[in-house]
Symmetry: C2
Subunit: 329 residues, 2 copies
């Protein structure tokens, strides 16, 4: 039995998305329990009058807004759905948690309530991107830290390697720094200094610099960058994938002949779309914390939020935080 | 008649790419002259023994390597193909120039030889991305400046607006800052300070923050970012587009049925590919300089380098630098 704490109030749509997603997850996974944090009345009205097996609604008075400052949230929102969800993990009542809420606040509260792994200063957000050989590339940080110094980038590399070892089972994953060229002279000061730190650590399988175009190639297992850069790259990927998918749909509905062709290629295209579509990859992990914290997109729909729940479940099953901590020792 | 100076030695492949591209451009455009800068012997051997109409080979002793430091290039490479190409523009022998060489060196030499537009501290690289309404979004800076302060970002917004006015003919193009969220609290210090500067300038049609996913939407005409972020975003787009195109090709060659389907959808797919394929967009402009300078990708092939030549031609025809200077007054 796995117990997940879920922040029902986070994200752009709050309970309208999180409640259906949780109900779906509970019906799909018979060995899952959910502690759902949010406004009791609102949540109960959405769940319906009957008790749902393995679902506990936990009332929280406060909500953290998407535009709220993390520092203010940390100080004044101790009774929020997000803080109470993290407290449940910290107290051992839940094995992990999922929120689509304010990223900065989730980061600040996670550090405060769960604490970081030993030797790690700042947690990072990591996710896996599809690549041409059918495997994937782990990228971090995807937005937890805007502005990282070289030491933080170095720690991200170490954590990324540990995540790839645990989730992919690869023995010595390769690591690279994301830069604007592969030559040594390229990049800003932080990236150059991180390059020196990484080169000096012979326990890492460090390859040097890669560029944005290398993310989808069979070139490197873990790519490290500042959270600002990583977040822009990730959202650009999502935007382009969505644009291409909509262009294809438009092209195949132009006239009767293209519509017939469209029907014929549906099975092929579905397969492709599922690999390209970034919503199939919702549920990035916060790593470097003493507990499983999964961040869903703020604008996720119920299917995507359900994927984030599944991701959290997977990280709990694989004991991700404990294994990372062991590898970092 | 338009005269372009071309750096034959720049890029990953040098004359193997630039010479065929120039020959093609000359045969396509009867009112084009080219001054081709590089090793006379090498270039002559590739062009062949006969004189080519409207082509002048200009010998240069030196080459600037792709990994060379811009400061060293500026000091020691006055006889390089790149420097001599820029001198030809500065002296009025050419109306504009194209290089696939070292971006940092091209930036440093351009500033030194051509000088920046009045009121602009640092030139930026700008290019247009396709978007869902069939128009495009201008993005700058795409890699000329790693690490920009708020004042530079502000100047990029002003230049971007001018470029959109000149190239798209839109009267009051909208401008936005690329950030990791649309809320005011998001972003690093430079972006937040630039946001304040842009809000304060009422002559701009400033919309606030956009995210990477908004680049392909009908949301804003000009997107401003630091050159590190912009370069990563651009190359990520190229990488993803290439990945998707290769996935589609692979899917359509899996078995006899998918191959037949593939043949049927070729005309549709070609149309889509030409819109998605980033190589159709080669030839980014350096703006903020007193002259037309176009930067081709280092790894461009002859067709792509030819597109960069066409882009330079277009900017010369539209008198881009003069018009930007007038708009900035």
């Amino acid at each position: 039995m796995v117990t997940l704490a879920v922040d029902a109030m986070g994200g752009d749509f709050g309970p309208d998305v999180t409640v259906p997603a949780v109900l779906r997850a509970l019906s799909e996974q018979q060995d899952l329990r959910v502690l759902l944090f949010g406004n009791q009345e609102k949540l109960q009205s959405m769940v319906g009058p009957r008790n749902v097996d393995r679902l506990t609604i936990c009332h929280s008075e406060q909500i953290i807004g998407m535009g709220e400052s993390p520092a203010v949230a940390l100080r004044t929102k101790k009774q929020s759905s997000m803080a109470m969800m993290l407290n449940a993990v910290s107290a051992g009542q839940a094995d992990g948690c999922v929120s689509a809420g304010n990223t900065g606040a989730l980061m600040a509260l996670s550090r405060h309530i769960l604490k970081t792994t030993e030797s790690i200063d700042r947690p990072a957000i990591i996710s896996a991107l599809p690549r041409e050989d059918g495997k994937h590339t782990f990228v971090l940080d995807l937005g937890a830290n805007v502005g990282c110094d070289s030491e933080q980038l170095y720690q991200f590399a170490v954590m990324g390697q540990a995540v790839a070892q645990v989730l992919d089972g690869s023995r010595k994953p390769s690591v690279a720094l994301l830069n604007i060229g592969s030559e040594e002279i390229k990049g800003n000061d932080q990236v150059k200094a991180a390059n020196d730190l990484l080169r000096a650590d012979t326990t890492l399988n460090y390859l040097g610099y890669v560029e944005g175009s290398d993310l989808f190639r069979d070139k490197v297992d873990v790519v490290v960058c500042d959270g600002f850069v990583g977040n822009v790259a990730l959202k650009t990927i999502e935007g382009l994938a969505r644009y291409i998918i909509s262009e294809v749909r438009r092209e195949f509905s132009r006239n009767w002949w293209s519509r017939i062709l469209g029907m014929l290629v549906v099975p092929l295209w579905r397969k492709l779309e599922s690999r390209i579509n970034p919503s199939g990859y919702n549920g990035a992990a916060f790593v470097g914390l003493r507990g499983v914290v999964v961040k869903s997109h703020g604008n996720a729909d119920a299917i995507e939020f359900n994927q984030a729940i599944s991701a959290a479940r997977q990280y709990v099953d694989k004991k991700l935080p404990e294994k990372i901590e062991n590898l970092l020792r």
